[in-house]
Symmetry: D2
Subunit: 447 residues, 4 copies
């Protein structure tokens, strides 16, 4: 089959290449490299940052002099800038991002550059870079969750008594409100923020200094690197550091998938509300697209794409799980945890970012929603009136069932106000949700 | 095909059956019931406990008198005892466990029993029972994780300088130690305990009082039920309470799956160590079985079954995820979250319980492990000696690679002692692991 | 936590137990047994059938005399009858169904019974029984698919010109017809039948006679057992026979999942059509249930449960995949392929059986569907009229888009009739679908 | 977080853009576009081919004149060449590949180009291109399977009596042979080729001409396009054509995953054989890599990467399944089936291609394998000798178990030769495997 695929044009320099290695088969090399170098672009700034800290640690135990450290730090800063400004491209000239850093230093600092890999392995190097990447990703997820919660709470407050049918089994059940619907998602996104924060803390352990899984014969200053990289704790055991590869990634994606599954449910609702049969929604033009064949169509594509947003993350999780059935210690299989991590995070974040504007902007047709409330939806109200008069519930239920239809139209707002169980429209406890949310926001903003 | 399957012998009583319903098709009924009644056996004690608290809440707002509450509490206690002692069987006579409770009360207390369903729905009833079930399950998982961590730490301490080959790529890499191996799993199980505790707290929200997803027209005392059922917080919004069904279950199973994946890795190691080619393991007889055809075989079946233990939990997670693509509000699809929850939890817990004894009892052949350490495994040591003499690492690496073979046998224990990077055998920091573990145990034991 | 779980009351007899084994820990035994004996109930008739054939094979190479074979056949027939009539129960007295058969024979035939296991292992015994079970399951799936296709085709024919809105993005797009909707599912179920048939043939290979994965020192008559058990071919290599465990199960469940995913889509449609906002559906009472709290509700539960039906099968597939990352040869992990196989097949078949009646019985509200067709849905028709007059399509598209609204009401049936592209309502080619279906039915009915 | 991501530099031209659309938000556009344009590079040649055939169909029913058809064909041929030679780049200037084709034609042919979209939609356009892509992919998978089977058969023949331990539970069980191991994988790959062929035929249905899921008001010549595109059959129903999106992709990936799971098992074996403890393998240098920290290591990375190869395919399958819970008709969610299709196919094919050389080249250490055969592995042989003397098997089993150790060394080749059950080393039936393989190869090569 015809595939257009860019093979590495020049063979990368291989750190471990010894005299005897000889010719390496190109297709085999391409297979082994995978899209590693492209994925490493996402990790590169973190790899540089961790390399800087690793050098500081080497200086702290006397492997590097103060001057040597200064030179390395300057050189790494230069690389960081060059990368940010597009003057340095991470491409197939390098085996991976790790080698690129050592190459840069050796090229610019000569023999001194050959010291940077002292006391570390690419194994702990990729671990620490991945962890910093995941931590930054979870920070953004957390921030997006609190932002979504804030928007939903605001809209919940504005429309707590705006009638809307409440559905179970997609059947009209009782009078509900637009505000109650928004408040439900506010609470969901608050829980998601908590989950994200817990997950961030769970993975916030420093693997730098565990080398290839068995430590090294140097008294590395791992406390220093933990502090400088702002890790919550040291990941102590080097075998465990290796064994945590993939499973920390999995847990981070799990948190993200939970957020996206809430977003999916929200999108399902919007998708139905946007159907002509419901017609509850007024979607700003920029959230709709046309059809290439049917001139009359305006389609709510972003809503549908948000509904599909958990898919790449769930797929990435399966990919990770499929790799992780292995004995202890590094195995090359684990290289294949990088792809699902990066693709899952990127796809999930993109969807979350988009959802903010959509949820803030979407408008509802209050009249259409009110018109969708039919008299039989007051049957439960009627049953509870009988209960209030002292009738046992089960009897009141049968009574109300029998007289359905006779109840006649009622005032939906009055019905909502009488719904006083805590959390219901008559007593929605939005302040309690706001308190939880504020605590999360405060904690995120404190150093 | 021939299937032996027990259909309900007597039609269950249906709470919602009205006069007009007429004949219900038996196969259809069986399909709708599924194995719900069997699954409810796991939830029944929790359902009774929550019913007791629900009654207290009704009394608190004047729906039940003090005497009525007393009668209901006594009757529920009697049901609890009858169930525990096998005098009450939850079977196909009932539509589900929820109906069984109402039936029991109505049978024993007459009209009063018909009041128990006031202000609640089976929707919040199953939510609260499931949550109590998951909470209890996570408590047991947490306790098993700390127990496993304790055993591994003890064994790590005993064998920190017992040489064992350290592998990467299943290739012998450097000298490692049995204690380092155990310490790695100790840290893993500590992380698992933290994850389990965080997850328990995340799901520890009270859904009782949200009814069918829209609240009720009664000022239910949800603060009381939250306190009596020892929930961490109120799950406020009734729509969210419904929407959290399945996703809380999923998160609980995720925590369990992480523990089991650590156990899988440990089992992979043991399985290899038990092979004649490694022969590092002495497995007590009770952990081996015979073959039906080969008289010479002693097979480490429990190890292999532990390796397979994540499978039913991962399967249950897929099952849950497959159900959860739905609009807001209860849909009957969600009934199918109960099966994977119960099956996943039961299978996972059984495996975890078994693993405790295995990990405590398994013995290692120190001589065989020592014999497996070959001279080339000291090459990294040699490189680091050159580094200590001031040679840049990359140069030392090439030097050491060139002279491999000449290095000659060395003392593995001395090599381990010189491995002084924090976490490595020369400085394993077991006390720091112990500190984390003790904090978890203390928190679990405090009220 | 309180769990009600039945441990085996009497220790099963263990085929491989030698003098030296000693005490076996009860919890460990329960863990190793799992629910194997319950699952074996589904396989038992197949295990007996294969044992009968195995005995015939032993007679064919002189291991059993004609009389011995006769005695064994009689005894196995008696077991088959006893099992069918409930006089023999497969329970925790036995280690598994395989042992139960040998036990039965030894009990009834003395030393002769000890010969049945000659030339076989439990490994090929479970392989052959599983395969016969899967084959029977796929036969039933195939038959249900053709039945579903037949019903859909009949209904497609009856309502090919009954107008119904055609949706894309859940938006009304163009006029479609109820018959076109049914024809779509007819074609889906025909494809499913083909897939099921192909899958059945793919797994239809005889593993009996491969023993524990390396064959035996006897010239077993495997051609005879292949013929007697009506296998399509011999599964030749004994290592492959072991390695195919789980993956054949996976493929069978894959076929089943495809059918159920079609059913899910159909259920999604019905679920929407049943909503008050669409109101296209008239669901017979027996397909609806009530609510325990809302007297007014009639819920389409079976539809929702059908929508959830792929979940246990997809879960079982994940469970299988999670187990299968293993080296060659039997590992005990593979025992855990039996549970997902049996549970996936049972759940999937039950849902499929129910769906037949539902799809045959469901009625549609023709007036409501017609009323849902709005003037803008003729815009594409208008564009094609301009194309017919010679205007390039893209220009006609813009023209039609501009004048939307002006088009005015049209006759939907006329519009359907003009839709003459092959497969569309004006030329639905139902006869071609019928031809494919008949060929499948004929092939299934021929010997 | 810092992400380097290339936004579309120039806004793509939008086919459906009408006057009123106004400004489209850039981030939203990027979200909606996803990496569609990059993925379309894989489909582009197929899209061009199908467009050529679509034009022929339009000419056949008089929408295009003979001259117009000629002009379009020439222009499409030119595009095909330009694309192959890199003179035409499919990039963010275009909304997608479909638009790029129409744009090209309009640019080169003026008003005539605007006719190409007559009677089709992007919906059937992407369906037909995807199907041609999958068909070509499955052809390559089939060809690789037969090649792998051929290599394995050849090696099986060469080493059928080369002794190698046969393992169950990773324990040495009986004498096996290298040839038996290879023959097992030969049969696996033959089955995979059959599965691939069946799957190819299953998806080989022509969706072109179904437009947006409801057909069009033109008597399209779909029989012609079916013939010209060499489809096995017409996919008749337009609603089904839409509903088959994703599920055909899923089935193609399923076939691929089965091949890769066989490869995973083979890689597991090789990975163990490559461990120093087994040391059965001699891996050519080009299949090993070095370590960045341990100078002594030569790691079998390609083997490990092959072991991980099912992961991206299984992940892609989950991604597809997660999208497919939808009502009938096109929903934008389905766009997200393209990514997993292309990524799963690309990753899977790359791994398969690499495996051919590896399996052909890998060498085994016959002496080490022979040395690994211990006397107890003859116990089953001994039992069968007693059976041959007339002892019932179960008794012989106990006898052999008791005397294990006494048996003394035997000749492994003699043991293999006596293993005469069909498929075992004494009667491996390689000719039957060869016959199946040749039939597959012949069928693939016939037109």
């Amino acid at each position: 089959m015809t595939e257009q695929q860019d093979p590495p044009e020049t063979a990368p320099r291989l750190l471990w290449r010894k005299q005897s290695t000889g010719e390496v088969d190109a297709a085999l090399m391409a297979f082994m490299a995978g899209d590693d170098i492209v994925l490493d672009r996402k990790l590169f700034v973190h790899d540089i940052a961790a390399s800087r800290v690793h050098a500081a640690g080497l200086a702290s135990i006397g492997i590097l002099s103060k001057e040597e450290l200064g030179a390395i730090e300057q050189s790494l800063d230069a690389l960081d800038r060059a990368y940010a400004e597009g003057d340095f491209t991470l491409d197939a000239r390098y085996e991976d991002g790790h080698s690129a850093i050592e190459d840069w230093l050796t090229e610019h600092l000569g023999e001194l550059g050959q010291k940077i890999h002292t006391g570390r392995s690419r194994n702990d190097q990729v671990l620490v870079a991945s962890r910093l990447y995941l931590r930054a990703a979870l920070d953004e997820v957390h921030s997006l969750c609190t932002e979504l919660a804030r928007i939903c709470l605001r809209r919940a407050d504005a429309d707590m008594l705006t009638p809307m049918p409440g559905y179970t089994h997609l059947q009209r059940a009782v009078v509900s409100s637009l505000g109650l619907w928004f408040a439900g998602f506010a609470e969901a996104f608050i829980d998601d923020a908590v989950l994200t924060r817990d997950t961030r803390r769970w993975i916030d352990a420093n693997p730098l200094g565990t080398a290839a899984g068995y430590g090294v014969s140097l008294p590395l200053d791992r406390a220093l690197s933990t502090r400088l990289l702002e890790f919550d704790r040291l990941q102590i055991n080097p075998i465990y550091a290796q064994n945590s590869r993939g499973r920390f990634e999995l847990q981070a994606l799990t948190a993200l998938s939970q957020v996206l599954m809430d977003l999916r449910r929200l999108s399902w609702d919007l998708s139905l509300f946007a159907a002509a049969e419901f017609d509850f929604l007024q979607l700003p033009d920029r959230y709709t697209t046309g059809s290439s064949i049917m001139p009359n169509k305006r389609n709510p594509d972003p809503i549908e794409l948000l509904r599909a947003a958990p898919a790449p993350v769930l797929g990435a999780m399966t990919e990770l799980q499929s790799v992780l059935s292995l004995p202890s210690g590094y195995q090359r299989d684990l290289q294949n945890t990088k792809g699902p991590m990066v693709r899952g995070v990127s796809a999930g974040l993109q969807a979350l970012r988009i959802s903010v504007g959509l949820i803030a902007d979407v408008e509802f047709d209050r009249e259409r929603m009110a018109a969708a409330i039919s008299p039989d939806m007051y049957a439960t109200d009627h049953a509870y009136e009988l209960v209030a008069e002292g009738m046992p519930f089960r009897q009141a239920y049968r009574e109300a069932a029998a007289m359905t239809g006779d109840a006649g139209p009622r005032d939906p707002v009055a019905s909502l106000k009488r719904r006083t169980s805590p959390g219901a429209p008559g007593q929605p406890l939005l302040d309690q949700l706001q308190t939880r949310l504020s605590a999360l926001e405060d904690a995120a903003n404190s150093p």
